[in-house]
Amino acid sequence: MSTRTLAPAVRRRPRRRSPAVTALLHAICILIGLAIIVPIIYGALGGFKDNGQLANTPFGLPHPWVPSNYTDILASSSFWRQLGNSLLIAIATTVLVVGVSAMAAFVFARFAFRGREFFFTLFAMGLMFPFAVAILPLFILLRTTGLLGNPLGVILPQAAFGLPITIIVLRGFFREIPHEIEEAATVDGCTPFGFFWKILLPMARPALATVSVLAIVASWNNFLLPLVVFNEPSWWTLPLGVQQFQGQYASDTARILAYVVLAMIPALALYSVAERQLIGGLTAGATKG
């Protein structure tokens, strides 16, 4: 407490920084910012050029503007289909992994039983193993069970590999909810399931949002699994579609740029609305340590 009362006086001491240093800091930030944004703008503008323009003036503004690369893609059914597939798979994965993880995390957080630490460690260890390790046997397994070409063949493994982080984050959050609340609910005749469903989950909404955003982003960006599971274009997701499009129009650079830029938009849109959940989820664990 004593440090608290002292703190403001010390903290408010203004830092002196010479204008030269400030300028340098800004210069660094602007340089890095350019490194991020110039490739994206190059892609977006390139999509409005034809290939001749792109070869002659990769830098400048399109002259004339050629919107057909974008409009062709937006008019094609395959782009929208891939968008829909990505969305469906991301949502199904997220619902499954968050639902199943919440149940397990509830038990890990609020029940005492023999073997709890063992099972928890088992799940946690899942994080240390690269997904690529499992892709080949997973493929064999999915082929044996007839799930190749089936969206479940992507959804189930994605959900399974998402379990560890989701369980760990949710367990941490569930632990924070005071036991008095559970006591009161129990006294009022609430079963564990009733407490979980009617009290714990509604209270844990921010944590559920966080893990959901993580699951959506992971699913949205997954490439290796859809690559081996979906042979038929009808189930391709956006990353798969982008990669195949690149192969198909190898020499039509402008068209590929347009496709890439359009494929970026949903992810950037999600980032703009869920930045807080995403960053919160990613940093929650690391800073706790």
């Binding site: 890095i32 038990v107 099972f119 994080l127 590999f161 560890p164």
Partner: protein, 330 residues
């Protein structure tokens, strides 16, 4: 950390001596094994069937010569696949290239991310905008990033060579992705473009959780900026840095998407990774037994690294590492 919930603050109903107050409370219902089993079963079944099962299956099939078709493999060859692995120049090359990428990540990418995090911790105008911008590439998939950079690095229409010519360094322009001498570094630049923002955000969050009093106190005591950083900030960032290194290594071991799209591992294997080699054998050449052995090698390398790292480096800050690892390059 806090103790298990069962022994944490309970109301005074239970006698204080009881190690398991829950039992002695008696009135609780539905907290026995059936409830636990019902809540745990879905996650456990999914995890065992889809995560542990395949890893065991890979361990089994790595002992066979198998083209991947027709039931389970029959042509048992013991450890021959692993012997072949040790003599496989491509695989040994994968290990070297993996090591180079890991060293570059740890000694270039992470320090850059740390520097930027400290920079954005300063009071400078527009830092919120910079932060949002620097992190943005992380939400783009590796595939999209890689396709974009295939164009950026392309020798004819590419941005990179044009920029070099504009600033008078035209002599440096090269075919980045088709020259064995540059391709691995080009791959590194692309994955750095995507991932540095993630590490920056981790470091920034860690830096902001350090009370300003500590650094202020150091400067009041006469420490200059460097000594304050070296002796106050850096040690306090230690746990996060160790976790970042861990994530970076595990992520690099399984690097696939970006390389597959940028180069497919070429030219002449110059950018091939273990995951690419595994994919080539397993899904292109139908040498599934051998590809399983590569999978097992990746698994064992990750496992040994994780155990050693946990034992000697992370010690108690493991929980954080676990919490973020899956999200980085899933």
């Amino acid at each position: 950390m806090s103790g298990p919930p069962a022994t944490r603050t309970r109301t005074a109903v239970a006698p204080a001596r009881a190690p398991r107050p829950r039992r002695s409370a008696g009135a609780r219902q539905g907290r026995g094994w059936p409830t636990i089993a019902v809540f745990m079963a879905p996650a456990l079944i999914l995890f065992v069937a889809v995560v542990i099962g395949p890893i065991l299956l890979a361990a089994y099939t790595s002992l066979f010569k198998w083209n991947g078709f027709g039931g389970l493999p029959k042509d048992f060859i013991g450890l021959d696949n692993f012997r072949r692995l040790i003599d496989d120049d491509v695989f040994i090359g994968d290990l070297w290239r993996g090591l180079i990428l890991i060293l570059l990540s740890v000694f270039v990418q992470l320090p850059v991310a740390l520097g930027l995090a400290l920079l954005l911790n300063q009071k400078i105008r527009g830092r919120a905008v910079y932060r949002v911008m620097f992190f943005a590439p992380y939400v783009l998939s590796e595939v999209i990033t890689a396709v974009l950079f295939t164009m950026v690095l392309s020798p004819e229409v590419g941005l990179a060579n044009n920029v070099l010519e504009k600033v008078g360094l035209g002599s440096l322009a090269t075919e980045w992705l088709s020259d064995p001498a540059t391709v691995l570094y080009a791959v590194f630049v692309v994955i750095t473009w995507k991932y540095f923002g993630f590490y920056m955000i981790l470091f920034l969050a860690a830096r902001q959780s350090i009370p300003n009093e500590l650094t202020e106190a150091a400067s009041v005591d006469g420490a200059d900026a460097w000594r304050t950083f070296r002796h106050v900030t850096l040690p306090l960032l230690g746990p996060t840095i160790r976790i970042a290194v861990f994530l970076s290594v595990i992520g690099t071991i399984q690097l696939f998407d970006a390389v597959w799209v940028l180069t497919g591992g070429g030219p002449v294997n110059a950018s091939e990774t273990m995951a690419i080699t595994m994919f080539q054998y397993g899904f292109r050449r139908y040498e599934v037994g051998y590809a399983s052995a590569i999978s097992m090698a990746m698994f064992l390398i990750s496992l040994v690294f994780a155990l050693l790292y946990q034992r000697f480096v992370l010690r108690r800050d493991m929980e954080g590492a676990i919490t973020v690892v899956r999200t980085t390059r899933a």
